[in-house]
Subunit: 252 residues, 2 copies
Amino acid sequence: MSMHLAKVSEDTIFRSCDHDYKVTCDTCRLNRICIPLALNAKDLEQLEKIVQHTKPMQKNELLYRENTPFQSIYAVRSGAIKAFRTTNDGREQVTGFYFPGEILGMDGISEDRHASSARALETAAICAIPFNALEKLSSTMPNLQRHLFQLMSREITEDQLLITLLSKNSADERVATLLLSISRRNARRHLSATHFRLPMSRVDIGNYLGLTVETISRVFSRMQKAGTLRVDNKEIEIMDYEALHHGANLSN
Amino acid sequence: MSMHLAKVSEDTIFRSCDHDYKVTCDTCRLNRICIPLALNAKDLEQLEKIVQHTKPMQKNELLYRENTPFQSIYAVRSGAIKAFRTTNDGREQVTGFYFPGEILGMDGISEDRHASSARALETAAICAIPFNALEKLSSTMPNLQRHLFQLMSREITEDQLLITLLSKNSADERVATLLLSISRRNARRHLSATHFRLPMSRVDIGNYLGLTVETISRVFSRMQKAGTLRVDNKEIEIMDYEALHHGANLSN
DNA sequence: CGCCAGTTTGATTTGTGTCAATAAGCGTGG
DNA sequence: CCACGCTTATTGACACAAATCAAACTGGCG
């Protein structure tokens, strides 16, 4: 397990273990980066009434499937999820990776059925939040409503970043950008920004970045030779953060 | 002007001229594909109170600029708009084209400043909808709230389609897909699905599709030679819809 | 221990980019 | 209305990054 904590923030207390599904939003160690961050204690109580803590998912298990009825959005509590859609010729397009504290499934709202599928990349604990109930709740909680709009808006801007990445950047730049993104998201959860384990395969990385497995592998090798990374299968150590950042060639 | 109407739907009456900015949502000929579609007469009155009908935009005029404070989302009433973000090395990434009845600017919600810029591709009439007011309104109108969530969700799924297109499809497939998209959106507005004028330049098309101008030009030439299209500068006639659809190689 | 999926590395091909030159539109002003 | 100049579009020749094809290696799991 690669969940060694790098730094413990002064105002965050880690109370619950990763896959415990009896945890409440109130006590969840992610409540400062997940939906609860927008709510006061009273509202949080209301939210907790509708959030469902399902049992842990096994690796490769499907959370939801494209074109099935949309009921809930999902918050990752532990583990990692990949979202993907299937093209008409049967290939898969990975549209995103989701880590603890992040929300997925919002693409299902517009047509009332999921526009993508989601699969656990490793053992994972997930909170399901029934959308109808959430919607009703948000009518009475301006903060929650605003937060939901913001979450969806953020999903849009992140998709736009990926579009730009796919459209304008070289293989090396794309890989560097993904690694930086994972590094940042780890840091936000007080995990190491420089040493982590990739939960996804090379195939998934390539698929996400619009590249082949072979190219991903070669980029990793090149970066290792250049001294930017140390790569040991899925274990990544960023040796030269500056170089990686420069190699990403991206604002933000 | 290329706004010849192909077919007039039985339940849609075209009351107002394109660039008239005194039109109300109530009488706007787009009210069946824009925000009003979700509202009853009473709610519509409320909406109209907050919608601002600004004066027509000239070609190349900016509607909003990246990183400026976010105030409103915008509905296109006539003309066409391109949205784009600027990469850190100064290049432009076109993230979308917006036609009458379509909403843009929702990427600004998450950070309270615009994540992209928007520029008129031709003379255009725009409605500005102040977001704070819209938000407040939507707390009291479940239909409106739902509709806004759906609009944002649709933006997400459309970005995912573009991601897939950029990641998996050839130059020919990308161009075919864009033409089909424009064709469908024209049809929705009761304009010709087979004969239309592209409001954007080849540069913009290439930029949007992650290709160079030269490639766009070559693809058009190829498709013309194959008898799929007739291309006369920005004027496009789809001669073989089946072939184009097949060439797009995309579900949906 | 042995198998199979995942990963790495090498040789070759190919689609699209780049560079360059010409042609066609389009707005401006005489 | 035409002439001019500038922007946009087309077409060709060549270069190159990443895909493809192929083969060997690794590691995790039954």
